[in-house]
Assembly symmetry: C2
Homo-oligomer: 331 residues x 2
Amino acid sequence: MAKLDKKIKAVIEIDHGSGGKKTSELIGEIKKILKFRSSWKNTDDDGAVFDLNGKKIVFTTDAYIVNPIFFPGGDIGKIAMCGTINDLAMMGAEPIGVSLSLVIEEGFPKTDLKKILRSINDISQKEKVPIVTGDTKVMEKGKLDKIEITTAGIGIAKHILPNYGAKPDDAVISSGDLGEHAAALLAERFNYKTKIKSDCKPLVGEIKSVARYLTSAKDPTRGGISAVLNEVSERSKVKIILEEDSLPFKKEISAIADLFGIDKFALPSEGRFVATVPACYAKKVVARLKKFDRKAKIIGSVEKGRGVYLKTAIGSVRKIELPEGKLIPRI
Amino acid sequence: MAKLDKKIKAVIEIDHGSGGKKTSELIGEIKKILKFRSSWKNTDDDGAVFDLNGKKIVFTTDAYIVNPIFFPGGDIGKIAMCGTINDLAMMGAEPIGVSLSLVIEEGFPKTDLKKILRSINDISQKEKVPIVTGDTKVMEKGKLDKIEITTAGIGIAKHILPNYGAKPDDAVISSGDLGEHAAALLAERFNYKTKIKSDCKPLVGEIKSVARYLTSAKDPTRGGISAVLNEVSERSKVKIILEEDSLPFKKEISAIADLFGIDKFALPSEGRFVATVPACYAKKVVARLKKFDRKAKIIGSVEKGRGVYLKTAIGSVRKIELPEGKLIPRI
């Protein structure tokens, strides 16, 4: 019976897509099946890297199923564009082209589609990243919730910014306050009144201005900083200590997280990054980032060891685990 | 009132995704909004082309929402892999890497997911094209019909095989019999008994063996040869004449098309291509293609003019229009 139960239970669950422990496990299972190895590098990073005549081509993709599709500070089109060019930027690459694949529910209003396309075009024009190829499919009414967008992007990099380069004695910095994207969507979803808007924006300029000093960089999207800093810790083989006094969360974000019973460290942002940088460059990097966002700051440090920890004001330490359990789907 | 009615009606319809006239119109509207122009070429083709240090990078994407997801001759994973590497092959490019974006419905059986991933891996290993990057998202139960896959692909080409190079006096060839993919899916969907299997397969080797002789090549997926030959005719500014005596349809395919009231010229294939070739090379090209599929043959010719026409055995001529009206969604 136990075996039968297990078989019955082997289905995809919502948390398999929420960016926490279950997502890592599912991706592990997927990678076990997709066995063909090649000369591509960084295939465990935000984008894979291919060397072509001395140039590094970076390739990335993401599917967007946010709910609601329009929210304060953006819409599904803006996120799809920003998410993909940010993944390239996080790798140290200059985005050169994006593909746009739309799956639309029958009966979806054309006015909404045009609004979404105009958001995509705004980012495309502003960042000078063209949409170069695409596909458009339609699902029968009731077979898809409104619209799903998948973007893939190609970028070119001189030097790759990896997710495994953090070193003991590095400082950990945040490019601004975190969690506002998730908080804005949650508030919109549950009709909670707040002035918080999604932080969704392109990060190409910001990261370019400091990339040369960084040892690692990640945008804390799905799973928030608890997911990405655990990834940096594991892949760089270091311990990361965050200082409670310096946490990059607005009071209102902490309040919204508490209200919805969600760990604020797991709240996704869509226009921020966290990075590690040798301590000697930390102040310079923060000063440069403050030109883009005055909330940029040092939030912690790197030590020998493993794992991510929070050091409270009174000196106690607690572990920040890979997010698990109650997470936020479709954010 | 008329204006109001029009506003109410402006929604996405199933036929906007079926590869015919309505799809062309929708893509036209989308392209009008996405204005940013760049140094990419062939952005109206199966893949966009970027010159990098003398190498041509080809970039393509497709969303797959086939129903049913398992069918005689393949599954959604096999199609997603073949479709994307075939789009690269049709451009004359060697596929070097594919991205895999999965959107899965909550409750989807893991055994089915693994079956799909094994199909993807089979093609990946056989064709030596790695899956290099990806994304996995989960939709709540009832918000998506089982699974949606978007693949994007990068290829490298020495010479681009365009969709606008057909010339008067070229022969039109087909790499095999057409429409079997659509017929197999329709039969499976409506419980109609047939031995027809999907023709889904990679075309990289086939196209490579003859690419140097071709003036244009397209795989007749959505919208079948009526869609792709009309595209070649329009973009190459030529008239295409098909000979009724030489049509590449098995009797059973014509019968299934008639049974379901669908124009056989609009039936999609997923492992065939049609191409134009100077008449002097036509026999050599067909002979090479016969090594892969003995049904490869000359099916028509190119003349001055515009449009696609069918010449019957008794000499009458009828126009083959871009498919419109009753089409097959999710094929």
